[in-house]
């Protein structure tokens, strides 16, 4: 009987995984919440199970997902990203239920998910880290520790919730007075949000580049990297544009970062695919940030420059296979850019366009173009899930060629109905600093002109509207 893999996710990543599963000759089983009953991943999968009325509760319900896997007779579960992907309890539940969890072991997820434990592991392995404290002692003593840290490293510093993540539970502190005042507040907030009032401090690295390394590791002790990615272009810690490899000119530094990532992964006993994230400051110092224990949205750019199918590799490694290639076999060729085309209005604080219908969808094609999408003509932007429509990834020999290709693709992309991030990206690819690879995490704040565009409907669409109107009225106001 063919092996069956349950995909515990939705959206473009569900489709991405289904493709890999089917290419391997396995059967792909999807799950869905009711609001997703028209979704494309159900059509693409070989079978699908409705796990509840949702929204965003059943996809997060470990028992229901495990039950669905057992019901369809799956031997493995791929969690994708988001939802249960980095929940150690879910990985543990899979292990307990005799299902293969496609990802690292549950205790690895648990350790790396806890910022303080993760820092301890990395400290032991001599991984460079942003200066920081361990969990602050409760009460006055903790405040005293914090004040001492501030005096030693200077401000600004970050006050972080130990159980926070994804940009949540973080506050930036500018002065000692603010620090003293904020600690109790941060504790009570963390208690409310994460049921864990522990907090710690970290020095702020001003306007760093966000550089990360794609790691793959088998269960036989081999850890390889697939080069770097630069994900500096973000808004409020959410990535918008990712490129591979990093455009940092110092190749030795990049090699060092990659080696460090491999050491970090080893130190964490990491298996399967993961991402080691670093900050790189203006003096080219780099600091470990965290390890993401899942497939990343932006894994496509690494695939494009290495030719390695990361999701396929994930599945094989989870099945206990050895890596079939060595670090020397991993060759980085050219450049790749991924842009997340979201149904959002960049001019209105990236407000999602939930509820609108995609009336026209025409995607670009041709050499070096890859689309990972979930959208089709008639697709209604869900109000209860995320607003990612499609990831546009392009690959080129040189950086300039890659930017040119991206510009052409954005120009060819027609999505009518919701507002999208396309016009914003069109400004981006025409920006001198972007073209020169000069960007860090402050890029959006310092490039406000990117938000200046008028949302132009195409000329033909305007004229077609007039024809539709004349046809609808059966009376032509311009002919009377």
């Amino acid at each position: 009987m063919k092996k069956k893999i349950l995909i515990a996710n939705r959206g473009e990543i569900a489709l991405r995984i289904i493709r890999a599963v089917q290419e391997l000759g396995y059967t792909a089983a999807a799950i869905y919440e009711k609001p997703d009953n028209e979704a494309l991943h159900i059509r693409a999968a070989d079978e699908a199970v409705c796990i509840g009325d949702g929204p965003r509760v059943d996809y997060l319900n470990i028992n229901k997902v495990i039950a669905a896997a057992q019901k369809v007779g799956a031997c493995a579960i791929h969690p994708g990203y988001g939802f249960l992907a980095e929940n150690p309890a879910f990985a543990k539940a899979c292990e307990d239920a005799g299902l293969i969890f496609i990802g690292p072991a549950s205790e690895v997820i648990e350790n790396l998910g806890n910022k303080v434990i993760a820092r301890e592991i990395m400290a032991k392995a001599n991984i460079p880290m942003v200066p920081g404290t361990s969990n602050l002692t409760a009460g006055e003593a903790g405040t005293a520790e914090a004040v001492e840290f501030g005096r030693k490293y200077g401000y600004p510093i970050m006050l972080k919730a130990t159980s926070g993540g994804g940009g949540r539970g973080i506050r930036r502190i500018e002065t000692e007075a603010e620090l003293v005042e904020s600690i109790p507040l941060a504790r009570s907030e963390a208690q409310a949000a994460f049921n864990d009032d522990r907090v710690y401090l970290e020095k702020v690295v001003l306007t760093p580049k966000h550089v990360e390394v794609q790691i793959i590791a088998d269960k036989w002790g081999t850890v390889l990297h697939l080069g770097t990615r630069d994900c500096s272009i973000q808004r409020r810690n959410q990535k918008l544009v990712e490129i591979a490899p990093s455009l940092i000119k110092d190749q030795k530094l990049l090699d060092t970062i990659c080696q460090t990532a491999v050491v970090a992964a080893r130190a964490a006993n990491y298996t399967n695919a993961g991402t080691v994230e670093f900050l790189v400051d203006h003096e080219m110092n780099f600091y470990f940030m965290e390890i993401n224990t899942r497939v990343q949205v932006e894994h496509t750019v690494s695939e494009m420059i290495t030719g390695i199918d990361i999701v396929r590799t994930q599945i094989k490694l989870a099945m206990g296979k050895k890596l079939s290639f060595s670090q020397d076999d991993v060759q980085l060729r050219g450049h790749a850019i991924e842009m997340r085309i979201n149904a959002e209005d960049p001019q209105n604080n990236f407000m999602p366009e939930g509820g609108k219908t995609v009336s026209v969808y025409r995607s670009p094609g041709g050499y070096g173009v890859r689309l990972d999408g979930f959208v089709y003509q008639g697709y209604k932007i869900p109000e209860v899930y995320d607003s990612l429509l499609v990831k546009l990834t392009v690959h080129g020999y040189s950086w300039n060629e890659t930017v040119d290709r991206m510009r052409r693709c954005l120009h060819n992309f027609v999505i009518a109905g919701p507002k999208t991030t396309i016009p914003f990206y069109q400004n981006l690819v025409n920006d001198q600093d972007f073209q020169n690879g000069q960007f860090d995490t402050s890029y959006l704040e310092t490039h406000e002109h990117l938000f200046e565009y008028t949302d132009q409907r195409t000329e033909v669409n305007k004229i077609a509207r007039l024809i539709a109107e004349i046809h609808f009225r059966q009376e032509n106001p311009y002919a009377i």
């Binding site: 305007k462 004229i463 007039l466 004349i470 046809h471 609808f472 009376e475 311009y478």
Partner: protein, 635 residues
């Protein structure tokens, strides 16, 4: 013989004409469109004709001006400047000609000097020959335009408007020509503007002969209309007596009230030994071969009355107003009254008001006065604001005689002499603050307007803004052929429409089905646009909503309501000015707002003393008779 081309100076043009034996032809395409097709011939059609018209080597192509600028933005949805730019690309040599109403520019009432100058400057970038006239032949009314055209180095063609009657002697016209030359100098073309196609060939020949006798070097351009079917006769007489330039049009589109066919003129004059200096007859024929297929799409805009109208010699309506007059008669339901209006009342009003020239805007004043005299029952009982201004001399002095006292009394009441003494005479219209206008247009558009947009806005503020918004929403629609843009009754399912857009890209639109979405109460129109299905949704218009828009209310009720302070629109019209603000004190007789219909403005006056409690009407709003204007609380 050197062809006269765009870019030549007036001196080169004059010396070429004077050194040539033959006569020159202006292809009067705009006047043809205005007279016989209600100004609706589309840029698409003119672009089709452009290559052949260019080859035909006319002296000029009259393609803008008159009412066309307003109709361009109001109905044809084309930018009058873009039109000239696109035609210029296809016609690099032919001079473009305009018709400008002097102080009234391309509109119906006098504009401030700075608006006139700004407008002429902007259009002069595209227009080579400027025919300028004033319906009272009051030369100072044309002064500003003269100056700007000459300053721009363009060809100035002042006009003497022509009409018939005892006052219209050669001596009178000679004095007018002298008056023009004193202002412009000798380097002009002189137009004899026979907008009604009045008089006999003999009369026109005599006038040309008289002018040539006194001003032998003056180049004369005869402009006529074929309303009575005999303009070829008048043209022939004009040329035989020395006119160098004449107006005619492409025969595929000639109708009843516009210029006569170019070929007929050429053939007729040939027998007298007169030949056109440059015109390529083959290209003239080719133009009509191209145009002939287009005419059927304009059928709806042709005159409701078919046939020549030789009684024009009685009613004297200009060719440009014939089609629209019959249209108003049909739409207003008074077609049966037309013989009385045309043959009895119009000639009477014409004489009563001074026997000046029935051409815009004077022709509209005569026409609306005659219509209102016949339909209203009481002659001069319901005078328009424009008639009042005319009688007060706001357009200029009466050339021959002032209308009789009883008309003034009827229009202004018993103290008419005081009013005339106090308010009479031409007043200088104050310059408007152009920067303030630009700022208010910027506010309405949401972006900084171009100079050209500002100029269009200064002509017709509300219509210009509507047009700019239309273009923003529907794009450059001149690319659509008349068979599509002027289609009545919708399209056929499966029909395909091919066009090349403004930017040169080819498109294909296939008409798909219509479907009522009952849940959402909207209609979905399916179109295949470049092989991609698109859906356009429209709200279903309910019968109840339509009914709510049209209050049923009689004229008597409107008057009665006005006496209670409830002011309603007295007739279907646009609100073109609101004179009062909420909270303002008003007296009976005070003007509250001004309504405009059929290009004529009529003030709506308070019937009561009181305070303006609420204003419902909005500037530019199109209202039906009985719609609420404002409420006055009686003091």
């Amino acid at each position: 013989m050197e062809h006269i081309i765009q870019g030549m100076s007036i001196k080169e043009v004059l010396s070429t004409i004077r050194g040539t034996d033959g006569y020159f032809i202006t292809n009067t395409a705009r006047d043809l469109s205005q007279s016989d097709f209600k100004n609706r011939i589309l840029l698409h059609t003119d672009l089709l004709a452009a290559p052949a018209r260019e080859k035909a080597k006319y002296l000029s192509l009259e393609i803008t001006g008159g009412a066309s600028i307003h109709v361009d933005i109001l109905r044809k949805q084309v930018d009058p400047f873009l039109k000239l730019k696109l035609l210029r690309e296809k016609m690099p040599n032919t001079m473009f000609q305009t018709l400008c109403r002097g102080v009234n520019l391309f509109g119906y009432r006098p504009y401030p000097q700075n608006v006139i100058r700004q407008t002429v400057r902007e259009f002069a970038k595209y227009v080579d020959v400027w025919r300028v006239f004033d319906f009272l032949n009051h030369i100072p009314n044309m002064q500003a335009v003269f100056e700007e055209v000459q300053a721009a180095g363009k060809i100035l063609e002042p006009s003497i408007c022509f009409s018939t009657g005892p006052e219209h002697t050669n001596d009178y016209y000679l004095s007018k020509v002298a008056e023009i030359l004193a202002v412009t100098g000798d380097d002009i073309l002189l137009c004899i503007k026979n907008h009604g196609g009045l008089g006999t060939p003999k009369r026109i020949g005599s006038l040309v002969e008289a002018i040539k006798g006194k001003f032998p070097d003056l180049v004369i351009h005869y402009h006529g209309h074929n309303t009575d079917g005999n303009d070829v006769g008048r043209i022939t007489a004009a040329v035989l007596n020395g006119a160098e330039i004449i107006d005619a049009a492409d025969h595929a589109f000639t109708g009843y009230y516009g210029p006569p066919p170019i070929l007929t003129v050429i053939d007729t004059l040939k027998d007298y030994g007169k030949n056109p200096a440059t015109v390529d007859v083959e290209a003239v024929i080719e133009t009509s071969e191209v145009l002939r297929n287009e005419r059927e799409h304009y059928d709806y805009f042709e005159s409701q009355f078919k046939g020549f109208s030789p009684t024009v010699q009685i009613h004297k309506l200009p060719g440009g107003a014939m089609g629209s007059s019959f249209e108003q008669a049909v739409k207003g339901g008074f077609l049966d009254q037309m013989p009385r209006i045309l043959h009895e009342e119009l000639p009477k009003v014409q004489i009563e008001l001074g026997n000046w020239w029935s051409v815009t805007p004077g022709s509209q004043i005569i026409w609306t006065t005659a219509v209102s005299n016949v339909l209203g029952g009481e002659r001069y009982g319901n005078p328009s604001g424009d008639l009042k201004n005319l009688l007060l001399g706001k357009y200029g002095p009466f050339p021959f005689y002032q209308p009789a006292d009883w008309i003034y009394e009827k229009v202004f009441g018993s103290d008419w002499q005081d009013i005339l003494a106090k308010e009479g005479g031409k007043e200088d219209i104050e310059d408007i603050d152009l920067e303030q206008e630009r700022a208010s247009l910027t506010k309405r558009l949401g972006t900084e307007p171009t100079e050209q947009q500002l100029v269009l806005y200064l002509q017709h503020p509300n219509d210009a803004v509507d047009f700019f918004k239309f273009e923003e929403e529907f794009g450059h629609v001149y690319v659509l052929p008349p068979s599509v843009f002027l289609r009545r009754g919708g399209y056929e399912v499966g029909e395909t429409i091919h066009f090349k857009d403004h930017y040169g890209k080819e498109h294909i639109i296939e008409i798909g089905p219509k479907q009522l979405d009952k849940n959402e109460g909207k209609w979905n129109i399916y179109l295949n646009v470049d092989h991609q299905q698109r859906i356009y949704s429209f709200q279903e218009e309910s019968a109840a909503a339509t009914a709510a828009k049209a209050p049923e209310i009689s004229g008597k009720e409107i008057t009665e309501l006005a006496q209670t302070g409830d002011m309603r629109a007295p007739f279907s019209a646009n609100v073109c000015d609101i004179k009062v603000e909420e909270g303002q004190q008003v007296k009976a007789g005070d003007t509250l707002l001004i309504m405009e219909a059929m290009k004529m403005q009529t003030p709506v006056n308070s019937e009561v003393d009181g305070t303006v409690a609420e204003i419902f009407a909005e500037l530019g709003q199109s209202l039906k008779a009985g719609d609420k204007l404002l409420q006055i609380e009686i003091a």
